[in-house]
């Protein structure tokens, strides 16, 4: 029987964490994601025994995640932009030590303290490695409250499949808005001894060490080569995207997250006017669907990339298109959410107008 509920994005995500059998959540309040910590503080421990701890800072929460994830259990944290900035050193350690865990960034408008309104200014930080060194997170960008829930389960699966941190990159609007969501059934919290994890060294195996330290350059290069190989594997297997009305389109809009839904509305308005527009929504931002976009570039006249920032994902779109067709950009910043009409206007001016 389907379990349908009307929920806020942040609450659906928190509920999904409980249902996915998450063992521990460590977090620190910040708008617009505090509902995650609040919901879990209220619900989680009594229902599944999940640990929920409010840390003294995001630096502490990410390092609690680092410690706990070393045991091989299902661990997560969430925050919003300034808090994610504080976490970057810890995330780099986690990526290098190859610890599975789930991170969530409910992106708000920046830079600086910025605004509590939604933003997408953390794209670079999320997909290009916000901390030091060469590392990658698997980055999933939900566009609906349903996906806020589903990606928690999927995120944990990917994290353990690749021993890699997974980031759900969403924004303040999706975190705060209410939608219908079909909840997945409660999964059992069960503990599996993993051969690399620190659980107390029994006689039967050598000691395990969680570390990202390798003083010899050659050894550190070896670790890097291993990580890069893993990232190539992820690129091969885990690309996720949604192509909406792209096959007969003359123009394509690329956008991720909630903005992709607004662009879908703009595309519908365009089609009413006889302009054939499709929307290509990357769901996995790393790995990025370069090949998919490259193939569509053969079929369309031009592409418009729309984001709530000054133009970040557009760099990856341009890399994908590789000069085949013009790629225009439209962005709103500082927490302003664009509406379908303004996107349609930009589309007509920048793409259609040029083509005529």
């Amino acid at each position: 029987m389907k379990e349908l509920k009307l929920m806020k994005g942040n609450e659906a995500l928190a509920e999904a964490a409980i249902r996915a059998g998450c063992d521990a959540y460590f977090g620190y309040p910040i708008t617009p994601q505090s509902e995650v910590l609040e919901y879990l503080s209220r619900e989680a421990n009594a229902r599944t025994g999940m640990v929920v701890l409010q840390a003294e800072s995001e630096i502490a929460s990410i390092n609690m995640v680092y410690g706990a994830a070393g045991t091989g259990k299902k661990i997560m944290t969430s925050s919003s932009s300034p808090g994610m900035s504080l976490m970057q050193e810890g995330i780099s350690y986690i990526a290098c030590a190859e610890l599975p865990c789930l991170l969530v960034n409910v992106n708000r408008g920046g830079p600086g303290l910025g605004t509590i309104q939604p933003g997408q200014g953390d794209y670079f930080q999320s997909v290009k490695g916000g901390g030091h060194g060469d590392y990658k997170l698997i980055v999933l960008a939900p566009a609906t409250v349903q996906e806020m829930s589903d990606f928690v389960k999927e995120g944990f699966e990917l994290a353990f499949k690749y021993r890699n941190p997974v980031l759900i990159l969403t924004d303040g609007a999706l975190g705060q808005m209410m939608e219908k969501v079909e909840l997945f059934p409660q999964q059992e919290r069960k503990f599996e001894e993993l051969d690399w994890a620190i659980t107390g060294k029994p006689e039967s195996r050598p000691k395990n060490a969680i570390t990202s330290l390798h003083l010899k350059a050659e050894k550190m290069e070896e670790i890097n080569i291993h990580l890069q190989k893993k990232y190539r594997e992820i690129e091969k297997n885990e690309i996720r995207y949604e192509a909406i009305d792209c096959d007969d389109a003359d123009y394509i809009i690329t956008a991720y997250g909630l903005v992709a839904r607004i662009c879908t509305k703009a595309a519908q308005l365009a089609r009413k006017k006889g302009i054939k527009v499709g929307v290509l929504r990357p769901i996995s931002l790393f790995p990025f669907p370069y090949d998919v976009i490259n193939k569509y570039a053969d079929k369309v006249t031009s592409i418009l990339d729309v984001e709530m920032n000054a133009g970040q994902m557009v760099e990856d779109v341009r890399l994908a298109v590789n000069g085949k067709v013009p790629v225009e950009f439209y962005g709103r910043m500082g927490g302003v959410v664009p509406d379908p009409e303004e996107i349609l206007k930009v589309l007509e001016e920048k793409l259609v107008g040029v083509a005529v």
Binding site: I59, G70, I198, G200, A209
Partner: protein, 275 residues
Amino acid sequence: MNERALIDDEHYEHTLRAEHTEIIDRENIVYEKPGTLIDIDMHYCPGCGHGVVHRLIAEVIDEMEIQSEVIGVAPVGCSVLAYNYLNIDMSEAAHGRASAAATGIKRVMPEKYVFSYQGDGDLAAIGTGETIHTCNRGENILFLFINNGIYGMTGGQMAPTTLEGMKSTTSPFGRDVATMGAPLKITELIAQLPGTYYVTRQSVHTANNVRKAKKAIRKGFEYQKLNKGTCFIEIVSNCPSNWKMTPIESNHWLNDNMLPFYPLGDIKVPKNGGK
């Protein structure tokens, strides 16, 4: 307390000579490497207190027979490679964040013994927030705090615990309290927190002190089973390399300069004797 007699040169030479006497019968052995201490060369400088404290941890783990139940955390600092020396599951941690990592481990593995092993720069400068809040939450972990009054690993910069007037590469004319602040007695500070159960300051610069420190470490592990709060053991230690002294000089200097400011002994003991 004048313990100079115990650390004089003659005593050390005697110890050294003993090492070279012929191998004695196995049943007569009174001193050997604890099983939990891995038999490889340590990178510590000769005479450094880190190696001694590692040995004590290993001895206590062996004596309590808890090797399979211990998880340690050692952050950046000279002891970051502790996981190469102790035959237990361990995690390295970012500079200052050991107690957060230890909190994470203990919260999801409450049945294990968890300890964090941190230097003074780590615990009392960059990680002060984590230290205070971990103790304030009364996490059931053991802190081993190696206070050598200096940043050892990075080459002898001033630490929060560097004594007034003490020279370091970043206080080349001696620590000036007016501009650099006074040395921080973080152990006294955290003893004020209701979350701490057992707080003590020890040293390992004489054989007698080594014995006392070992007893404290054993208590720290034993108390953890009671789930009564944080145990915190400061070890006043040396850094012969960055203090620019021989090991013996450094132990004398520790005795004469560090200990008057950082007096040894229990600061907070369980009311009922830890029962």
